[in-house]
Symmetry: C2
Subunit: 476 residues, 2 copies
């Protein structure tokens, strides 16, 4: 029995030779039971083609783990091993979890404030474009990326992907029970790169934008696909499961199907990664226990606080329209409007995502293919991220003062963030308590400066009577 | 029996001497039954002080009317007369009615497109300020004015009014059953002046902003007051009844009280003027049969179309926040935001009202006291009014094309008004049908010009990729 080392929340992989005849994807069952100090985690393995089987493990506790494999194939069963889990290295904070009910933190307790963007089909573009996307992300404020497992067929997305998820002929028939390991390795390579950039992969498992048939698989095929994806990818600490983009636009699947698929993912994932589902025109019931947070498509930022309260979960506005200039209204708001929606969502106690859809001579729109960012909003979003990063984690919408409604998040008595949007007051009354230090921010010009160094509680301070201002009020 | 002449929808007044002893306001009943060609209208009279009684009649049909008075005082009963109603003169279109279910028109069929503003307490200011307000209104785009019968006590509204509606001592006790005719004559003089400016008076009968006790009268007192106001003012063709401003902020009155008071006004008004009620935090049930249209306080322009559908009545956003710079969020939006809300409400098939709250060295804020306008929105609202006035009356929200949702009103196949708000498309696909003439408007810069002179139905036209644009698309 050999012993190997892996750092906490990193990926430890067991590789086993096994049968390649028949259909191993369908016929071979494989798992490993990991044990440590009375705890047991059952981790599914998967067939990676060419007679190779793998089991991937993400230890969540430092110390010695042992495992033993299980399989319906004698050759793969009963293999034992020992893994020593070492403390995480710098920058490894573990997977992101829900924290303080409405917020997020890494497993080690480090706050995580989502600033997402979308490059839905970036893994399905050329290698050079994939590299360019990663370079752009490295320079961006974004720490979450919505991306699809399956390729995308949609306006501006007419190109074939370099690889397909299944064996078979693209135009005639797929073998939905034979996965293409090379396709998944490409995704895994991208997940590693995102992980190194501290970017969470909000992985979209199903979506309606399809011309290959991947959106019309049977329930059995869907479930097998989901189990395969989870077995391959759950050990990546930066993976979130987004069951679908615009789930309600997928014909042939009803809410019971989505309930079932959620549970398939939940059951197969020993690490309980975040799970959500993104709506088109109507919401899934986000109160279901298998939904970790509300992934919302809506420009109705005002409603965020209500959804937060109704569902008792974090609300992430994953789509609020994109900065851009295409014809579709979802893809042509101004950078000013997108930045406003970020701030407006923030003071509703929610989180907001970015996307960009400027016309491009070769149809390389960031929103789906990645490439370069051209807009004015990312630098402003970076400004917001910097501001929020300096404030206490998990600010709560301010209640009780009607002037503050939908205009402030706070830690009562300690810190307030006010955002005024299109309002331009000449004066503003500070909270009771204090004394307060007041900083004025221009959310679009990205300027900040001390407005009042020391103000008593309830003081009425002069404001610049301009739109898009914010105040950071902290106790001195 | 004398015969006099009055033009259609003008005010014909019968003056009768009568008793002044006791309390005529309470004790004397007076009405006149007007008859014409089998029709009968019972019109209440009122005591105007000093032994003078009046009955005011607004004939709605050309021709000869006869009347006979009724009273519990023999001296006032059985008086007969004849009134010849002549055709209306130029500019007299009669009272405004609901038209085409969701819209308004004058009684003669002339379209009326409401562009309201607010000067809640203007009649309670000095004469010179009243004159200045009227001068400003004459130069403005506004054709509806929300104004209170009772004086107003509120922030920026600390001055005492020149007159009070009741006899009694301001600081001790009012005689709520003795009206002050001089007070009401002042309001009537203002109604005449508004009428001459073709401005509808959206008369607010009750409101919570009070330090005199007028908001705390008993049900009996409220009803007597309402009947007196209606008897005095219903013959003004430019009167609308707004039961209250922020009705739900009036403590001590419940929904049954409002139901009852609505019916008091309805029963007392032989001309069936428009009736509405304006909300604070919650809506009255606008589906009640005595509500002619929804008078809404809300900045949620997106919801307008839903309310329109739910209530099956016109929706007038009478308060969407005011252009200004005061501390209160309801009074400090930018002119850009207010103009956006006007256009946004318009393409939801609704109507929107203005108000202005810039700080003033003498607390003369237009919103309540009138005076001068200082903002940038009125000229833009004039621009919108001009545009709408050139289009067919009663445009309907465009359905069926998701890109148009909340972005267009139309007469199908004939005319479309698109408004893009913070959206900045580079292209836009025209409706099927045509051929189309396309005009591009900048709603804030107030520019307009032909974009395409002749385009086929379904053509994709180039757009400037700027925010705050609108298109007028008409069939050629």
């Amino acid at each position: 029995m050999k012993t190997e080392a892996v750092e906490q929340w990193d990926l430890y992989e067991i590789t086993l030779p096994g049968p390649s005849e028949g259909n191993p994807f369908r016929e071979v069952e494989l798992a490993a039971l990991f044990r440590r100090a009375g705890r047991e985690l059952l981790v599914d393995g998967f067939y990676d083609g060419d007679g190779v089987y793998r089991i991937r493990f993400m230890p969540d506790e430092v110390g010695e783990w042992t495992y033993v494999t299980r399989s319906n194939v004698p050759q793969l069963a009963g293999m034992q091993g020992r893994v020593v889990c070492t403390p995480p290295s710098t920058g490894n904070h573990g997977p992101v979890r829900v924290a303080k009910r409405y917020h997020f933190a890494y497993a080690d307790g480090t706050p995580y404030i989502p600033f997402g963007t979308t490059c839905y089909a970036w893994v399905h573009q050329t290698d050079s474009l994939v590299e360019q996307t990663l370079e752009t992300l490295a320079q961006s404020p974004f720490n979450k990326l919505r991306m699809c497992v399956f390729p995308k067929s949609y306006v501006f997305n007419e190109n074939e992907p370099p690889l397909y998820p299944f064996e078979g002929c693209p135009l005639t028939d797929w073998q939905f029970d034979r996965f293409n390991p090379v396709f998944f390795r490409r995704i895994e390579a991208c997940l590693y790169r995102l992980r190194d950039l501290a970017i969470e992969a909000d992985l979209i498992l199903l979506h309606p934008y399809d011309r290959w048939g991947f959106a019309q698989m049977t329930a059995e095929e869907d479930d097998r696909y989901l189990r395969y994806v989870v077995a391959r990818l759950a050990a990546f600490r930066n993976v979130w499961w987004s069951m679908a983009n615009e789930f309600d636009f997928m014909e042939g699947k009803n809410d019971e199907d989505w309930d079932r698929m959620f549970r398939v993912v939940q059951d197969a994932d020993p690490y309980d990664h975040l799970r959500s589902i993104h709506n088109g025109a109507r919401f899934y019931d986000h109160s279901a226990p298998w939904v970790s947070h509300c992934s919302v498509q809506s420009g109705n930022m005002e409603a965020g606080k209500m959804w937060r309260q109704n569902y008792g979960k974090p609300v992430v506005f994953d789509e609020v329209c994109y900065e851009g200039n295409i014809e579709d209204p979802w893809g042509n708001i101004t950078p000013q409007e997108l930045v406003h929606r970020f701030w407006r969502g923030t003071v509703a106690g929610c989180y907001v995502g970015h996307g960009e859809t400027y016309l491009h001579p070769h149809d390389i729109l960031w929103w789906s293919k990645g490439g370069e960012l051209h807009g004015e909003s990312p630098s402003r979003i970076a400004f917001l991220r910097q501001v929020l990063g300096e404030l206490p984690h998990g600010l709560t919408p301010a209640e009780g003062n009607w002037r503050w409604q939908d205009r402030a998040v706070m830690v009562e008595g300690r810190c307030y963030l006010f955002y005024f949007g299109p309002h331009q007051p000449s004066f503003w009354t500070l909270p009771e308590g204090g004394p307060w230090h007041v900083e004025l921010l221009d959310t679009y010009q990205m300027t900040r400066g001390v407005l009042v160094r020391h103000a008593e509680g309830g003081a009425r301070i002069r404001m610049p009577a301009k739109p898009w201002q914010a105040l950071v009020v902290t106790r001195r």
